[in-house]
Amino acid sequence: MNSRRTFLAGLGAAALVPASLPAALPAALPVALPGRGPCAPPATGEYVVGVTSNPLLPGPAGELVLRTWLSVAADGTGFGILTDRYGPGSSSHLAVQSAVRNGHNYTWQGVVTRSNEPLLVGQPFTLSAHVQGGIASLDLVLMGQTFSGQGRITD
């Protein structure tokens, strides 16, 4: 219970610190890039695995190392898991509601459906990725905070 409180307090406190808002936040939004063709759901679906964190966040949120998995069907819907081994309060199930791919850039959006922290249920999330050389740079936006890291995507 205590860790649950501190986890949420950490996220809440972080949300109040403007300096902690990452510059990469706009990149997490699914934006159609002019001149690069229309964005559309990927044709085959994806499996995504990655690890993200944001040590600049104050409090417990800055200590989170969030492992993320998504399984996304060709129609852009799917499900996922979010967890931190040492912050089990953050462990959550995700529903993927949309997927957009534009070349090497992916964006998945959805909502937390179940969580060890009830207040996370219903919270929207966005996971964006830029693939280069087999490795994906990831940005996970949750509770207004961006956690960045690396991962792998298979189509």
Partner: protein, 152 residues
């Protein structure tokens, strides 16, 4: 000079010989769920990991961090392959829920490149479906060719 000639002769022989036997090992990771299942089963989402040796034996884990009582260790005892379709059979060896120990598990994957799509886990009478990543290591056994060359 003689050694070089022997190696060349051996290499020529090797090109005429049938391909050397190969060992195939797999590492599988994926995410599966069965949201249509009734009751609590429909709320599960498993991270699946498996490490399989050439003889089809290996080990793995099932983890649902939101439902940790289902987290289990697996032992795989056999593998079947037909083209891109893999089937691994095993059993739960350890679990946070002792009642799951001994339950059979079957992992099915259709492999395209390094993608497992679909990836299916048959467990507790349900089929959990999703996607995953498969890394396949194919190791040709060249020792049988190199040893005669060196001896010669």
């Amino acid at each position: 000079m003689t050694l070089a000639r022997n190696l060349l002769e051996c290499a020529e022989t090797a090109t005429l010989a049938p391909p050397p036997p190969q060992q195939e090992e797999q590492f599988v990771m994926g995410l599966v769920a069965d949201p249509d299942a009734p009751g609590p089963t429909g709320e599960l989402a498993f991270n699946v990991y498996a490490s399989i040796a050439d003889d089809g034996t290996g080990y793995g884990t099932l983890i649902d961090p939101v439902h940790p009582s289902y987290s289990s260790d697996l032992r795989f005892v056999s593998r079947q392959r037909q083209g891109p379709h893999y089937r691994w059979e095993g059993v739960v060896t350890r679990s946070n829920d002792p009642g799951l120990v001994g339950q059979p598990v079957v992992l099915l994957a259709t492999v395209h490149g390094d993608s497992a799509s679909p990836l299916e886990l048959v467990f507790l009478g349900h089929t959990f479906r999703g996607r995953g990543l498969v890394v396949i290591a194919i190791i040709a056994i060249l020792i049988g060719l190199l040893v005669p060359a060196i001896q010669k």
